[in-house]
Assembly symmetry: C2
Homo-oligomer: 469 residues x 2
């Protein structure tokens, strides 16, 4: 074996040799993992089930909630691609709530520092990542390779070429399984002992619709927001695309989808719950898209450990698929690459050390982001409209303004920092405790009164700040 | 198709025809399910992976905690086998606790009505069940058939004969998957959408030891108890066998097993924690058995739904493997047969109705017994030695004596009634609420004082009752 990066053979006292790495899955996380490993000088082969997305005519896949936030940006920065992505992405500074009476109101993500998450197209992102691998002679891409089995604990994976039916076996020092929520690599883990695993389907399904550009080629709604139609038991959201269209996603219990059988029923349903969206989508397009394919399932996966022996590791959705309501699925998967990279920095090419520590340190955060997404599944469709939620949001914003380093609200810590997910939850629990104590000690009325006093000052300050910008 | 039981073609207005049923797995639950279905007149074929247990020389399998209680007895009674099993089984009326200083004390399961659970050998039980199927010309047994895949949603299963390698396909109206905790039938469910699944390995492993008979051929310990050596983080238990031996099981975190590497270390460990067991097991046998095979894993499974289309259903461990600490694994699996039978009574041979209702009504109870077993995993090794536990047990016994139909303690409702498992838990939660209210309202001291007064009366009554028996 050669030395990674042509450097000498050790790092921090651990051996540091060039490894043969098989990346199973060439989606967003797979192609980014290949870049991270390729950059280190390892010999990487990416096996992707689908054809090359850059030349494919039609891409079948999920596009919901590709919202790039700080964790994802960090991992992209590490391979020099952050700026490219941001240039393409559309910043969203907050949620724009569509009320049933047609009024709209904005809830900024971060009133104080004006941070944004970025709406990015899955196809574009994947294309950039795949093209970037071509800079590295030590990264090899293989498309149309369907995994058919293997002894992953020995670094062995079998593939069948979907066009030629030819069989092929990879023998790698390390298999990185990033083949998504329905991972074939993970299926091999399930055959082994002591693999803890959970998959949960939520009762809501999703269906994608589309809002076209206006006649003048511009956006039909204010572009820099994530639009939400919260309706309690169900909701609709819309994210802006570079081409001035909106990807609209309707989340609803399957029984509600099933109850809509005709275009009349559909239009009646939309007139009742999403009246302002009908002229935006257009009646004809709405009917066509709604009945095109049935609503899709949404699944969350938790498992532990993420590795078998020192030969195979699961990252991205393969290890921790989440429901899409926090916009963290891709970001968490990208963060896996950052964490894996850091462990290579720490332990050279000692895979036993690397994979053990990865499993031991990553599961709590991966389970936490799973829980966060489940929580937001309720917040987005229901709580977001409640006074208690808006009050708490105002309290959080105020305290964050007064103590920006001490008081970081939950959404901010998840989306605008790299604080470990588990710590974000612990932090929120601590905040709840502090607030409860304040309210208990000082009395609710007094604290609310006091709060509004300070809030007035804060608002005056904000207005002052805005007017001077 | 012919009519089941030769009766006319309907039951409660539903069609009632003879079905072709493939039972995958011929263990305890599989052979009992075959009897239940065979008795109804269906054509049943049992496919078992192992050879015929009745002629096999060595049976490799788990024997821990085969404690037959009321649910299991009910299902056996329905096929006329209860008495046969009880005659062989050894009644256990309570737990006999072995303290570290060598003293022992008894905690009866049910002080009032002297009920017992029965220790039964797995091999014996399975043999009786398999032999009983031979009475039915419509039940066909096939051994050495390993499931290799199938389209279970279409009633199709593939098998390979483990001796001849010949392939075989079953095409059934109904597949009953009862192939245990590592079910191959369930693996097919995992490939489908909307199947919720969880498997959890606990940090404890288990290892079996043996206490031989005394020289006079009798038991070396009082036979009618489940013996427990609770030691907080780990524990040992012993169940009596018909041949006057004891099956001893040591439950311990894997790291503790791993830390015992030599016979010296083993004996020192036993001298420290289980000193009274050494002369019972015998030093030589202890060392031999301990190092024979490594400690085994323990897994719990929850899933939902239990059926696919109207063609396949999971029962027993395949649907709800539990850790063995409540002695309910087999009993819950046997109860599945009772419930399925009742649904055939209700819906004839309308499999869609039967399987839908089975999935919809069984999951809450199956998840509940899983949780109960996890809870007892702590109670048995730790709580059982705590004053608070013994106090609560005394309160429960007393109230049960005063109101036998109203106040049924948790253990009793699980083991000595057929109350749905979920209701057992709800019932316990209600009892906790009542007790907390009494204690809060009357003050702890007063209620304790009052309690001990009544308890004295109760104890005097018990003594009186015992002396007059």
């Amino acid at each position: 074996m050669q030395h990674a990066n042509g450097k000498n053979g050790t790092i921090n006292g651990y051996k540091n040799e060039s490894l043969n790495i098989a990346v199973v899955g060439g989606g967003l996380v797979g192609s980014l993992a290949a870049l991270h490993m390729g950059k280190r000088g390892h010999n990487v082969t990416v096996y992707e089930y689908r054809e090359d997305i850059r030349t494919a005519e039609l891409v079948i896949g999920r596009s919901i909630n590709l919202a790039l936030s700080v964790r994802g940006r960090t991992a992209l920065r590490e391979v020099g691609l952050e700026d490219k992505m941001l240039k393409h992405g559309i910043p969203m500074y907050g949620r724009m709530i569509h009320n049933i009476d047609g009024t709209r109101n904005v809830i900024p993500y971060d009133r104080n520092s004006n941070q944004a998450i970025y709406s990015v197209g899955r196809k574009y992102l994947n294309e950039i990542l795949i093209t970037a691998t071509e800079k590295y002679p030590n990264i090899n891409l293989k498309f149309n390779k369907k995994m058919s089995g293997g002894k992953v604990e020995k670094g062995e994976v079998h593939f069948v070429d979907t066009s030629t039916q030819q069989e092929e076996t990879a023998n790698a020092d390390l298999i990185i399984g990033c083949d998504g929520a329905f991972s074939s690599v993970r299926r091999e883990f399930l055959k082994k002992n002591a693999f803890n695993y959970q998959q949960i389907y939520i009762e809501h399904g999703y269906l994608e619709l589309c809002i076209p550009p206006a006649k003048d080629g511009e956006f039909l709604m204010p572009a820099n927001y994530l639009h939400i139609w919260p309706r309690g038991k169900f909701m609709m959201i819309a994210l802006p695309n570079q081409d001035r269209t909106w990807t609209v996603t309707l989340f609803m219990p399957f029984e509600n989808f099933d109850s809509i059988k005709s275009s009349d029923e559909l239009l009646k349903f939309f007139e009742t719950f999403f009246p302002d969206s009908i002229p935006l989508i257009g009646e004809e397009r709405l009917v066509k898209d709604f009945f095109k394919i049935p609503a899709q399932h949404l699944m969350a996966v938790k498992c532990r450990p993420y590795h078998i022996s020192s030969k195979c590791v699961l990252i991205g959705d393969a290890g921790h698929a989440v429901v899409p309501f926090y916009g963290q699925g891709m970001n968490a998967g990208f963060e896996d690459c950052t964490i894996l990279s850091r462990l290579f920095n720490k332990y050279g090419s000692d895979l036993e050390k690397i994979l053990n520590e990865y499993s031991e340190t990553r599961w709590e955060d991966a389970h936490a982001v799973c829980d966060l997404a489940m929580y937001n599944y309720i917040e987005m469709r229901d709580l977001v409209n409640k006074k208690s939620f808006l009050f708490r949001k105002a309290v959080d914003d105020l305290l964050h303004w007064m103590m920006p380093n001490v008081w970081v609200p939950l959404y901010g810590s998840v989306s605008f920092t790299c604080m470990p997910y588990k710590k974000c939850i612990d932090n929120r629990a601590w905040q709840d405790k502090v607030l409860n104590r304040i309210i208990t000690v000082s009395g609710y009325a007094a604290s609310a009164l006091g709060f509004f006093g300070v809030y007035q000052i804060y608002n005056n300050y904000r207005m002052f700040e805005e007017s001077t910008n």
